[in-house]
């Protein structure tokens, strides 16, 4: 069966006085029906811009300059603004990072919840308000009938994120994109929200694309994970496979560098050397080359393309792809110290 969403060679760029930032550079991936895809990367890796590009929400000076976003076979990048509007909120919904700023402060929560219902489902205002009460109940907000009359500032951060989730699910979308949905929240509230997302996904069967910088957040939740670095997908595999058998030096570095809560201290941490690259001044070859301990001679000059590698955990189902010239595994001794870039 064809995937629900297929992104092909997506390119999104930001023009500035100092040059062009290739925020998303030739990115291809897909999401199946009912699947949860995790996208992991640091700030500037292009993960959020990818999400924005799917819904064509990239704002000036950003621009999608190439590629295809095929949703159920239709290329979203070719739709006119009116057709696109019917996709947003109805077919694909989005949850944003900061629940404190993502709701309109001067409209009641009920009003904001009912907007997509009125727009997409053809409900009247009253019907939509009634439906909103149910939505609030669904995301676990007590006293929902009263709460829809409140304004966002009456809600705590965690509660607002629940409202955002309710709003995203209002029209039963086929895909929900959650952009760092828990980054702004405390740990215990984060757990509440992640649990809620998992529960709702199980109930509605919607596909989820969850974007985060914390590997832990997606480990328990995602079926598959894309790791992004400097605008490229550098590794993609099933969740189990990725954590058990990471093959890209960057992924390996990340896993080695973060201390684990459930393990006693083993000694010093093993950091990734250097800093994330300047997106205005990327190297010709692999963007990770200057920080890489396993760099291949070709990495300096040739941008590695995604290639399939054998997967260890469940060979038949999942596919494991990496964009790396080297053939290394976790635990291999480094070929060299990270390169000094003066």
């Amino acid at each position: 069966m064809a995937p629900l969403l297929e992104v092909k060679n997506l390119q999104t760029q930001f023009k500035s006085k100092d040059g062009v930032v290739k925020a998303v550079d030739d990115v291809s991936f897909h999401i199946d029906r009912g699947e949860t895809l995790g996208v992991v990367g640091e700030s500037g890796s292009g993960k959020s811009v990818t999400a924005m590009s799917i819904l064509r929400l990239v704002q000036h000076p950003g621009k999608i300059v190439g590629g295809q976003v095929l949703f159920e076979g239709r290329d979203l990048l070719k739709l006119n603004e009116n057709e696109m509007r019917k996709v947003r909120g109805k077919e694909i919904a989005m949850i944003f990072q900061d629940p404190m700023t993502s709701l309109n402060p001067v409209l009641t929560v009920g009003r904001q919840l009912s907007e997509p219902l009125v727009t997409h489902m053809g409900l009247t205002r009253d019907q939509a308000l009634k439906e909103s009460v149910d939505l609030l109940k669904m995301v676990g907000i007590p006293n929902a009938a009263e709460r829809i009359k409140n304004y966002p500032h009456h809600f705590s951060g965690g509660m607002r994120q629940r409202v955002m989730i309710a709003m995203a699910l209002a029209c039963r979308p086929k895909l929900v994109i959650a952009d760092e949905p828990t980054t702004a929240l405390d740990v215990t509230i984060q757990a509440q929200i992640l649990e809620l997302l998992e529960k709702l996904q199980a109930e509605t069967g919607t596909s989820v694309m969850i974007i985060t910088h914390a590997l832990g957040v997606v480990a328990g939740m995602a079926d598959r994970i894309n790791v992004m670095y400097a605008g490229h997908i550098v590794e993609t595999a099933s969740s189990d496979e990725l954590f058990e058998n990471p093959r890209h030096p960057y992924t390996m570095g990340l896993l080695k560098s973060i201390p684990r809560l459930d393990e006693a201290r083993k000694g010093r941490l093993v950091p990734i050397q250097g800093s994330p690259p300047d997106l205005l001044d990327l190297p010709k070859g692999c963007p990770f080359v200057s920080r890489c301990e396993y760099a291949h001679p070709e990495s300096e000059t040739i941008l590695p393309q995604l290639r399939q590698v054998p997967s260890v955990s469940d060979g038949n189902r999942s596919e494991h792809w990496i964009a790396c010239h080297s053939e290394v595994k976790m635990g291999d001794p480094p070929k060299r110290a990270a390169q000094e870039v003066a």
Partner: protein
């Protein structure tokens, strides 16, 4: 909310009191004191001056004068005008209507800045926006009297006519005599509105919740109406109040230039003849108007913005 209004009312009263006290002090410690007018008048003999001083209570110690003065202005009694046998307050009250007409008209014209600001913000960086910006920059450098003078020159040298006074003979002339000064007086307000609304709208356009609204698939009109303008126009309420003082000050100049028979012109005349009771009476009214303007602005803001909480 009630607590807030009570608090702001008390603060406003305090403010009026403070400003009037300060004025009293300035007038009395200034070289020559309030009787400067009298002593500078060569026609008056020393005895006459002394008699007037006594009749106005200027011979008493300062604190006593202050108490008398305060208790009198509390009941809106500024004493007789120096140049007119009638009470100053009466002279001033007669002029309020004319000034109110002018002020209201220019306010209405000035509010055209709101759509202008929205227009500029929506066409940010494009031709329309740039035209608006150039106009606001140039307008900021042309004070009311300057631009009035230019308009008068143009009118006088082309149609050989420009409005002077109230205009008699029906609604048409009245309208013409009112609208030209009002339009000129409104330039400052218009520019303030335009700049403010443009800035606010641009600010709101970059907010996360606008992105949320777009991501929900709302039609552009809905997004603009409920998520952009609704938010960007809320702070405009405060501007409505804060611009009042500028209008009051501008009225002195405009009314003088066009001989509009309002408070501003009276103030000018009183200043020329050093008629202190009239001057202080108008200053008092001006102060109260300004204070009320800011008060209304604050309360109005609280009414339209659900985020503001008073406790």
């Amino acid at each position: 909310m009630r607590r807030f209004i009570i608090r702001r009312l008390l603060q406003s009263l305090l403010l009026v009191w403070a400003i009037m006290s300060l004025t009293f002090l300035l007038v009395n410690i200034a070289p020559g004191g309030p009787e400067v007018v009298l002593t500078q008048n060569p026609k008056l003999t020393r005895e006459q001056v002394e008699a007037i001083r006594v009749s106005y209570g200027l011979d008493k110690p300062l604190y006593e004068q202050y108490v008398t003065w305060m208790s009198r202005i509390a009941v809106f009694d500024f004493g007789r005008s120096y140049t007119n046998p009638r009470p100053a307050s009466q002279l001033v009250v007669e002029r309020i209507s004319a000034t109110a007409q002018l002020g209201l008209a220019s306010y209405l014209i000035g509010m055209l800045g709101i759509p202008l600001g929205i227009y500029a913000a929506r066409r940010r960086g494009k031709l329309g926006d740039n035209v608006v910006r150039v106009i606001t920059v140039i307008g900021s450098c042309m004070p009311v009297w300057w631009i009035s003078l230019m308009v008068i020159i143009i009118l006088a040298n082309t149609v050989k006519w420009f409005p002077q006074g109230e205009g008699t003979g029906g609604i048409g002339p009245w309208f013409l005599h009112l609208m030209i000064p009002a339009a000129l007086l409104s330039t400052g307000v218009l520019i303030s509105f335009t700049r403010f609304v443009r800035a606010e709208t641009l600010e709101v356009l970059s907010q996360d919740y606008v992105r949320t609204a777009v991501a929900k698939g709302l039609p552009g009109k809905e997004v603009n109406r409920w998520h952009v303008f609704r938010n960007s126009l809320i702070p405009v309420v405060t501007l409505l109040g804060y611009l009042l003082p500028a209008l009051v000050s501008g009225a002195i100049i405009t009314e003088q230039i066009f001989q509009w028979p309002g408070m501003g012109r009276l103030f000018f005349q009183a200043a020329s003849s050093r008629d202190m009771p009239v001057l202080l009476c108008i200053l008092y009214i001006g102060t109260i108007l300004t204070v009320i303007g800011t008060l209304l602005a604050d309360i109005g803001y609280g009414l339209v913005d659900p985020r503001v909480r008073y406790d």
